[in-house]
């Protein structure tokens, strides 16, 4: 245990995801030794980010205004919506530059253990967006784990009766990898989802 404010800092840092007690201590001492200007800048960004950043009123992505950059962009295809769990998934898909439609950020996945049900996710907002009939396809891009799959199953049941095209991202082998290094679950999934080769 350190004295007073140093221990407070370590405790606060230790609450961040992925930071254990040892890392918290290392970061705290780095801050103590750092240039006061740098530390002030970090502190200001922390406060500004909380004040300024909002969530897009349409898709739920992080935004600095009412709408996020993607929802403002008129060139994006309004007929296709890609449903993801978190804002960071939007960034990941944007990096591919493959997808030109719009997004919908749920804010998590269904997980009864953590007390997260459909009402805690932005599913009602999604249904409202679909009401005007502009959207023709919904791509379910939730994580390929148990909770993500459950969320996708739930949404599929909700969306299919509406006559939309509902698709799910394929799961399978990583590109550029070796077959021999794939774990059995991934390989098994890839087998289940195999497709015929069209020429």
């Amino acid at each position: 245990m350190y004295e007073g404010v140093v221990q407070d800092l370590i405790d606060e840092l230790g609450r961040l995801p992925g930071v254990g007690p040892k890392s918290a201590q290392r970061i705290a001492f780095h801050i103590l030794q750092a240039d006061p200007v740098d530390v002030r800048r970090l502190a200001e960004v922390l406060i500004v980010v909380k004040d300024k950043v909002k969530f897009c009123s349409v898709c739920g992505n992080v935004a600095e205004d009412e709408l996020c950059r993607i929802c403002r962009d008129q060139r994006r295809d309004p007929a296709v919506i890609c449903v993801v769990e978190e804002s960071k998934d939007v960034v990941a898909i944007e990096r591919t530059r493959e997808f030109r439609g719009r997004y919908h950020v749920l804010g998590g996945a269904i997980s009864p253990i953590e007390g997260v049900g459909p009402d805690d996710l932005r599913i009602r907002e999604l249904m409202t967006r679909l009401a005007d009939g502009v959207v023709t396809e919904v791509i379910l891009a939730t994580d390929p784990n148990l909770e993500g799959e459950a969320t996708a199953t739930y949404l599929t049941r909700l969306l299919r009766p509406m006559g939309l095209r509902v698709t799910r991202l394929a799961s399978g082998l990583p590109v550029g990898g070796d077959l021999e290094y794939a774990d059995e679950v991934t390989l098994g999934r890839a087998f289940e989802g195999r497709r015929s080769v069209d020429d």
Binding site: I110, S111, P112, I113, G115, G117, P118, D119, L146, E147, E149, A150, T153, Y154, R157, D183, E184, V185, G188
Partner: protein
């Protein structure tokens, strides 16, 4: 396969210990509490990534240390592989093969296969149904490591589903209903689907495994117990619901099982909501063990129960052996529990295995057929006697 070298670092009572091993029989001899079992437990841990003695990893780490490391050089298919596992209680373990790290320690499953006999095996026969389910599942994973994933997926579906049943049931009982209870009910269908899918996969695998084991258990029991015939020891898998008739072949396939499981889940809905737990699925199944017309549990003598437990292990050994490389056979303190005649019979049956590791407190307990290399264990020191 066999282990040629084992090194233990902060594992159980060992701070730093190297043990050289060879093919054939090796006996670890030492008084009680000197650390014999710890050595064989380490080898079994490399194979199964869990211990037969404890359910959590914390006791495996030497008192006061933060992590334990087990390294084993294993010869399989005439090649040597260096396997290494770092046990970090409360955090994820790390595994390396030939010094290169694996993304998940679970991928090491299947590199080494062991069959371990220990005094705890009596629980297979006399204990709760969960012991027998674990016996089947462990064996499934040893044969096809993919089932480690199926098993953990199923456990997770169950935990999620039970948690949902609890909230939905509580809301229904209080009569308040409300949007939370409705939302919970609307997602229950989703978890039903996942329960049926993973449950059917596990169930299909267990049913097939039991069919393969049956004749082997009968044969092994005949060999171990005096005066028994091979039709004496039998077993039957009893699922938590009525199995559908197979469409073709002796066993119903996965799709049929999933459908039946789903129908049963829907039928028991009200019950499940009342009690707040999942009542249908492979986690409620039982493996019945019978001697003649009577169940072993409650009717068999102590000696018969022991023979049955041995027969289950011997049958696993036969099954794994038929599927390729010889598993490593570990006999942990079992001879002290057996009379001379059964000792001799067991020794005869396993003497030709590629590698047999025996622990015993009294050297005289180890039958002559298993005279091999001797290793003395005293005060946490391991020394070869020859």
């Amino acid at each position: 396969m066999h282990v040629t070298h084992l090194s233990l670092h902060d594992f159980r009572s060992y701070a730093d210990t190297e043990v050289a091993l060879g093919p054939g029989v090796t006996s670890f001899i030492g008084r009680n509490g000197q650390g014999k079992t710890n050595v064989v437990e380490a080898i079994d841990y490399i194979a199964r990534l869990s211990s037969h003695r404890v359910s959590s990893d914390a006791p495996l780490v030497r008192f006061g240390a933060e992590q334990a490391v087990v390294r084993a050089a294993v010869v399989r298919d005439e090649r040597t592989a260096l396997l290494e596992i770092e046990i970090n209680p409360g955090r994820s373990n790390r595994a390396r093969i030939n010094k290169s790290p694996l993304p998940k320690s679970r991928e090491m499953l299947g590199m080494v296969r062991t069959v371990l006999f220990s005094p705890e095996d009596l629980a297979l026969v006399k204990g709760d149904p969960s012991e027998r389910r674990r016996f089947l599942d462990d064996l499934l994973v040893l044969r096809a490591p993919r089932y480690a994933g199926v098993r953990s997926d199923y456990d997770r579906v169950l935990r999620q589903r039970n948690s949902l049943l609890k909230t939905a049931g509580a809301a229904r009982r209080s009569g308040s209903g409300g949007s939370r209870a409705e939302a919970a009910l609307s997602t229950l269908g989703v978890w039903d689907t996942h329960l049926a899918r993973t449950g059917a996969e596990l169930l299909a695998a267990r049913l097939a495994l039991v069919e393969e084991l049956k004749p082997l258990v009968g044969k092994a029991y005949e060999a171990v117990a005096r005066g028994a015939t091979r039709s004496d020891a039998t077993m039957a898998y009893r699922p938590s619901f009525e199995l559908p008739e197979p469409t073709e072949g002796p066993l119903p396939d996965r799709a049929v099982l999933a459908e039946a499981l789903m129908a049963e889940v829907e039928r028991r809905r009200s019950d499940e909501l009342d009690r707040g737990v999942s009542l249908v699925g492979p986690h409620r199944d039982e493996l019945h063990l019978m001697l003649g017309p009577l169940p072993v549990k409650g009717y068999a003598s102590h000696g018969e129960s022991w023979s049955f437990a041995l027969a289950l292990r011997l049958a696993s050994y036969d099954l794994l052996r038929a599927g390729g490389d010889d598993p490593i056979l570990i006999l942990d303190d079992v001879f002290a529990e057996l009379d001379t005649e059964r000792r001799e019979r067991l020794a005869e049956m396993v003497a030709d295995a590629e590698q047999v590791l025996v622990t015993a407190a009294v050297p005289a307990d180890v039958p002559a057929a298993l005279a091999g290399a001797r290793v003395l264990v005293a005060d946490g020191q391991v020394t070869r006697a020859d």
